[in-house]
C-alpha cells in the first residue's frame, strides 16, 4: 500500500533539489540520520537558521553604519558562506556570495537590495524546510503507532542503508530490484524490514 505521505516527502525533496534550494550536501547530511539520532539533519538545520539569523542581523547593523566597515561585513559573510555550505543551503549560499561581491562596488543602495534578497531567500528556505521536516516527523511517528513500516518507506530506508554501507565501505553499489536468483549479496525485504524495525524500536525506546 503506497503511503501518500511518503510520496509527498520524496516529491518535496526532489523539488527542493531540482529548484536548487538545497544541494547534494543536504542529502549527505540525511545519511547521518541514524538510530541514535534520527533527526540529526533537522537539528543541524535548526542550528543553522538560528546562527545565520544572527549573522544577517549583524550585517544589517554594519550596513546601517557610516562609513561601512567592509572588512567586518566580509568576515561575517565568510562565516555565513561556511555554514550555509555545510548544510547544503544552496540558494541562500549563492545569495550570500552575491552580497559579498556587491560590497566591493561600494554602492550602498544595491547592497541594501542584495541584503533584502538574502533575507527573503533565507525565510523561504526556512519555510520549506519546516514543512519538509514536519512531514518527516509525521512519517516517523506514523511508523511508531502502526508498527509496520509501509513498503515505500522500507524501500527508501533500504536504499539509504545500502548507500550508507557503500559510503562506509567505499564500494560501488548497484541497487537493483532482483528476483532473488542473482548471485551476490542480497538484501531481502525481510532483512530491510528488520533494519527498519530495529531502528524504529530504538526510537520508541528513547
Amino acid at each position: 500500500m503506497e503511503s501518500t505521505l511518503q510520496q509527498q516527502i520524496s516529491a518535496m525533496k526532489q523539488s527542493l533539489l531540482d529548484e536548487g534550494f538545497v544541494d547534494g550536501h543536504f542529502v549527505e547530511l540525511e545519511l547521518l540520520d541514524d538510530g541514535d539520532n534520527p533527526q540529526f539533519t533537522e537539528e543541524i538545520v535548526a542550528l543553522f537558521f538560528a546562527d545565520s539569523a544572527h549573522l544577517i542581523a549583524d550585517v544589517e547593523k554594519e550596513i546601517a553604519n557610516d562609513p561601512i566597515n567592509y572588512v567586518k561585513v566580509d568576515k561575517i559573510l565568510h562565516q555565513f558562506k561556511g555554514s550555509s555550505s555545510s548544510v547544503g543551503a544552496n540558494r541562500v549560499r549563492l545569495q550570500g556570495t552575491k552580497l559579498r561581491e556587491s560590497c566591493k562596488d561600494g554602492d550602498v543602495e544595491s547592497l541594501k537590495v542584495s541584503l533584502k534578497q538574502l533575507k527573503e531567500e533565507h525565510a523561504t528556505l526556512k519555510e520549506k524546510l519546516d514543512t519538509y521536516f514536519q512531514l518527516v516527523k509525521q512519517l516517523r511517528s506514523e511508523e511508531k503507532t502502526v508498527g509496520h513500516p509501509n513498503e515505500e518507506h522500507v524501500e527508501m530506508l533500504a536504499e539509504n542503508q545500502l548507500t550508507k554501507m557503500a559510503i562506509t565501505k567505499d564500494e560501488e553499489v548497484d541497487v537493483v530490484k532482483g528476483t532473488g536468483n542473482e548471485p551476490g549479496k542480497v538484501v531481502t525485504e525481510e532483512e530491510a524490514v528488520k533494519v527498519v524495525s530495529d531502528e524504529s524500536a530504538l526510537i520508541v525506546a528513547n
Binding site: G24, N37, F40, S83, A158, D170, K177, T188
Partner: protein, 226 residues
C-alpha cells in the same frame, strides 16, 4: 514472497584492495580519538557527527587556543597527567579568529609530544598557495569543505593503517599518496579516472571547475534500476 518492494541486490563491484583493515570492529584496535577544531558551531556539530558515525571518539573545540589547552601545550602548568591522552588525529579548520589552523598546525609540529599526530586542515576555500603552505608545514591532508562521510571514512582507514603499522613496529611513515600510488601534490592535475575522494587531496575540485563556488556533489556511485 513476491511483493512490490521486491528484493534488493547489492552487487559489490569491483572489490577494492583493502589493507585488511576496512572493518574497524575486527581490527582489535581501540576507538580512534579525534580532536576537531572549528570556530563554526554548525561545522563542529557536523564533524562530530561524521566522526561518531565512523566509530571515532571526538573532542570538538572552538579555537586553536582551546585545542592547545586540551593538549596541554598552552604553557600552563598541567594539573592532570597527560599520559592517558591519546589523540590519533587532529582536524582543524583553516580560517579561525585568533589562531588560524595553519598556526595551530605549526605549534603542533613544533611540539615533541604531538608532532607525530596527523593534522588535517579543512577549508571552504580552495586556494592553491594555502594548500601548498599547509602541506609543506606537515599537514597530512587538506580537505575542501563541506566535509563528507567518505572523507572521514578514508581518513579513519588511513589512520588505522598507520596505527596498525606502529603496533607491528613498522616505523615507515605512510603517506596517503603512497597508499593510492599518487605523485606528490602540485603535480599535473590527476586524470578523471581517479576516485572522486582522491581528488580532494590533490588540487581540490580540479576535476571540476576551479571556481570557489563550485561544490560538486561527490556521492557514491549508486544506480537504482526499476
Amino acid at each position: 514472497m513476491g511483493s512490490a518492494a521486491g528484493e534488493f541486490l547489492r552487487r559489490v563491484l569491483p572489490e577494492k584492495e583493502k589493507a585488511g583493515l576496512s572493518d574497524h570492529s575486527s581490527s582489535g584496535l581501540e576507538e580512534l580519538h579525534v580532536l576537531a577544531v572549528d570556530d563554526s558551531h554548525v561545522d563542529r556539530k557536523v564533524i562530530e557527527r561524521l566522526l561518531k558515525i565512523s566509530s571515532c571518539k571526538v573532542t570538538a573545540v572552538e579555537s586553536g587556543t582551546r585545542a592547545l589547552q586540551f593538549l596541554g601545550l598552552d604553557g600552563e602548568e598541567s594539573s592532570v597527567g597527560f599520559d592517558g591522552l591519546k589523540i590519533n588525529l587532529i582536524m582543524t579548520d583553516y580560517s579561525m579568529p585568533g589562531m588560524t589552523g595553519y598556526e595551530l598546525l605549526k605549534k603542533i609540529k613544533e611540539s615533541k609530544a604531538f608532532k607525530k599526530i596527523p593534522v588535517v586542515i579543512m577549508s571552504s576555500e580552495n586556494i592553491l598557495t594555502r594548500i601548498h603552505r599547509c602541506l609543506e608545514e606537515g599537514a597530512e591532508e587538506f580537505i575542501v569543505k563541506p566535509v563528507k562521510l567518505s572523507d572521514v571514512r578514508r581518513l579513519r582507514d588511513f589512520i588505522m593503517r598507520g596505527e596498525e603499522n606502529r603496533k607491528k613496529g613498522n616505523n615507515h611513515k605512510r603517506k596517503l599518496q603512497d597508499d593510492y600510488g599518487m605523485s606528490p601534490p602540485l603535480s599535473p592535475a590527476p586524470s578523471l579516472a581517479l576516485d572522486c575522494e582522491i581528488s580532494s587531496l590533490l588540487l581540490p575540485s580540479s576535476s571540476s571547475s576551479s571556481s570557489p563556488e563550485c561544490h560538486p556533489s561527490k556521492r557514491p556511485r549508486l544506480r537504482v534500476e526499476d
